[in-house]
Subunit: 431 residues, 2 copies
């Protein structure tokens, strides 16, 4: 007797199988019980009849509680009315591990109740769906970048200095010294691009941000591609091609989950085709003012500004040429318009805002040295970074894409805390 997974049950129709999993739900009458079994790969309805099982076994079946682990044996049938299209006609079953008073019942629970129970909440249908999409997003990113010739080169987590200012850094005691947790692999990627041409790092990043918004985690994952001999245009094209690929892959694999379980309007994702619209920062300022927002030229956009802009388009948009002051010290200025940097953010549509930030980095040693001074950054920890301009400097560009923000947009989750298995928030690092 084979032990297939529920996801692969279609290959076993009219055969006797044994499945192991957990009781997701159970209902029935005095004659027949319908038990929804989940094994992590899917769910299947198991039908147990009083006539088949006998009184004692039938009573034991009826007594199985939510999230008890069980082994069930029976015959697989096609059943159009059952969730998933198949059901199992039970011939036998065994309780493996009981579950008394499982806290997450089918009724609605608030986030304050669910977050501390994240280790169990993961078993729920929607959370399962979101994190399944997340895994597909990550795999699609690796696949796309490797196909495009990018080499996966990890950036370090422990860093002696900050990439983008020091106010949101986590500090670690490092053998009697201080180290910081990486906020971005950007600087290291530039060294790697000089060695490997096209690279990307993929890992966790950390920001000690006190803002408790629905778009912030203290620990989030990002992918950061970087290309040697590439400019702002190359980065814009790479970002839109990557996002188009990821959205198409998610639709291809998970249309049912998106529409059925997550109630996502999949038409919105079908619209995600390159090229994306492009909006110059100057135009963005005009659009914001036209929309009644009091926005001064020179600063970065806030979440609400981004929401206003991104509501105006049916797909992600490139917001480019931010003022030099609004971006990190390493961003290259536009030679045609030195007020502005060769930078780009991609804003996800439907009011969601930034999911990508990037652009062309300066390859000019003197400019970079001046920027360090202007930003009040110490020189010594950046000497190695300056070396990249001393020894064969090269135009290069790239970006960072936030995984959880991307998943939140694709799956239609309001808060990114549901888009990572174990969210770390200012007030919560448990479980």
């Amino acid at each position: 007797m084979t032990q297939p997974s529920i996801a692969g049950i279609g290959a076993h129709v009219d055969r006797e199988v044994t499945l192991r999993g957990w009781v997701y739900n159970s209902r029935g009458s005095r004659q027949v019980r319908f038990l929804i079994l989940r094994d992590g790969t899917g769910m299947i309805q198991c039908v147990g009849g009083l006539a088949d099982l006998g009184e004692e076994r039938f009573a034991a079946l009826a007594a199985l509680t939510q999230e008890s682990s069980v082994s069930v044996s029976g015959r697989v049938r096609t059943e159009a009315r059952a969730p998933g299209g198949y059901e199992l006609i039970l011939s036998d079953f065994a309780l493996l591990g009981a579950s008394e008073d499982y806290p997450i019942t089918p009724k609605e629970h608030g986030i304050e109740f669910l977050l501390p129970r994240r280790h169990l909440w993961l078993r729920s249908r929607k959370q399962h769906a979101v994190l399944t999409v997340r895994a597909t997003v990550i795999a699609a990113i690796h696949e796309f970048l490797q196909r495009e010739g990018f080499l996966h080169v990890d950036a370090p987590i422990f860093t002696p200095s900050a990439v983008e200012g020091t106010t949101t850094l986590f500090e670690v005691e490092y053998f009697g010294d201080k180290a910081y947790l990486s906020q971005s692999g950007q600087l290291y990627n530039e060294a790697a691009a000089a060695a490997f041409g096209k690279v990307y790092c993929f890992g966790p990043s950390f920001r000690a941000e006190k803002s408790k918004t629905r778009r912030h985690l203290t620990e989030f994952w990002q992918v950061e591609p970087e290309m040697a001999f590439a400019d702002l245009e190359d980065t814009i094209v790479l970002a839109e091609n990557l996002l188009e690929f990821v959205a198409a892959r998610v639709l291809e694999r998970h249309r049912g989950l998106l529409a059925g379980v997550l109630e996502r309007d999949v038409a919105k994702l079908e619209a995600v085709t390159a090229p994306f619209p492009r909006v110059h920062y100057d135009e963005a300022v005009a659009r914001l003012r036209e929309a009644g927002r009091d926005f001064a030229w020179g600063g970065d956009l806030g979440a609400e500004d981004e929401a206003v802009l991104s509501e105006q388009f049916d797909r992600p948009l490139h917001l480019h040429h931010f003022p030099v002051e609004a971006k990190a010290f390493y961003m290259a200025p536009d030679p045609q318009d030195p007020r502005c940097s060769l930078s780009v953010d991609v804003l996800a549509p439907e009011g969601r805002g930034e999911i990508v930030g990037g652009g062309q980095r300066t390859d000019d040693l003197a400019f970079l040295e001046a920027q360090l001074e202007k930003h009040g950054l110490p020189r010594e920890p950046y000497e190695w970074y300056l070396d990249l301009r001393r020894y064969g400097t090269f135009p290069h560009s790239g970006f960072g894409l936030g995984i959880e923000r991307t998943v939140a947009w694709l799956t239609g989750r309001r808060h990114i805390r549901e888009c990572i298995p174990f969210p770390r928030l200012m007030r919560s690092i448990s479980p």
Copy 2:
């Protein structure tokens, strides 16, 4: 005129191309110069003749220094004697970024010189080869596990408690509280396995180990698969199939790099086929004593013990059934022999030692509670972990595989610091 990469130059034979990259080496006579250009994807010999270029351009070509960035144009020819099999007959070139006194010259440098210059050292042929293999190892692991039905589910980095004792934890200031950097995603994987069946996490792990051995980094990457309804045997088979797949993939993609650049004996890797030999802990003790080592039953093996054992086999070996005391508190005891745990380490051959550690986790609530007490671990931070035994407990098993140790073994590097782009050691976190 197309701008191909050097890796793809074979498709452009007899055509005019422009390449951009860095001068790896330059030599020649008064009539002809041979310049080795690298672009990150490969190297190609560029030939510049005095007759073709004229005196001024030829002198400028001869003056190009190591690691200057350049643009070169010319015709691609097949040339069996050139490294890579092709060469470029230069018609024109341009210096993009000069490089004065590049510190890493073709002569031998010591590790004390190279480590602080890691950002440049990455450009060297051997380091480039090792990290190319590393990327292939990582991609192969994702591919294998996904093909086997594992879902990628990330474990958190910030944790409120230690998985395996508290002596090697890095402490982080977390908004006025304390957090720790994860040493393993193990406990979180178990929650994920209950939700998704077969899962793996892939990320950095941190150990504040003071040991300055060639097998330790303070920041290393590991993959940790975990399976629901699986036992020790399942984990042993998964580990050997994964390692066989990874070794075969590395050989398939990088035979030339391994044999040519890294001087690796590829026959050693061809021997990596499953099943691997299995050695019970009791047998290991006997073998160690026979080899003249004074080893007492009950403890974990040291690096030298592992070296002795792993020298005795031509492929990785499973060392299984460690004493309960020698392993983490969550490891299941063997019902047939409660002195021993259902644990396994995989030792890489050629004296290298542990690259995998894993086994079956206890699914018995009472045993786990007793273990917490025995190990002096506080109860409260583990309540959520105990929940996994309260609500539908299930047999499960898995392991952790260290990426850098695996890459060191496959590429024949003595020290794992060369097997990660930016190694973090007790005394060094820069660059």
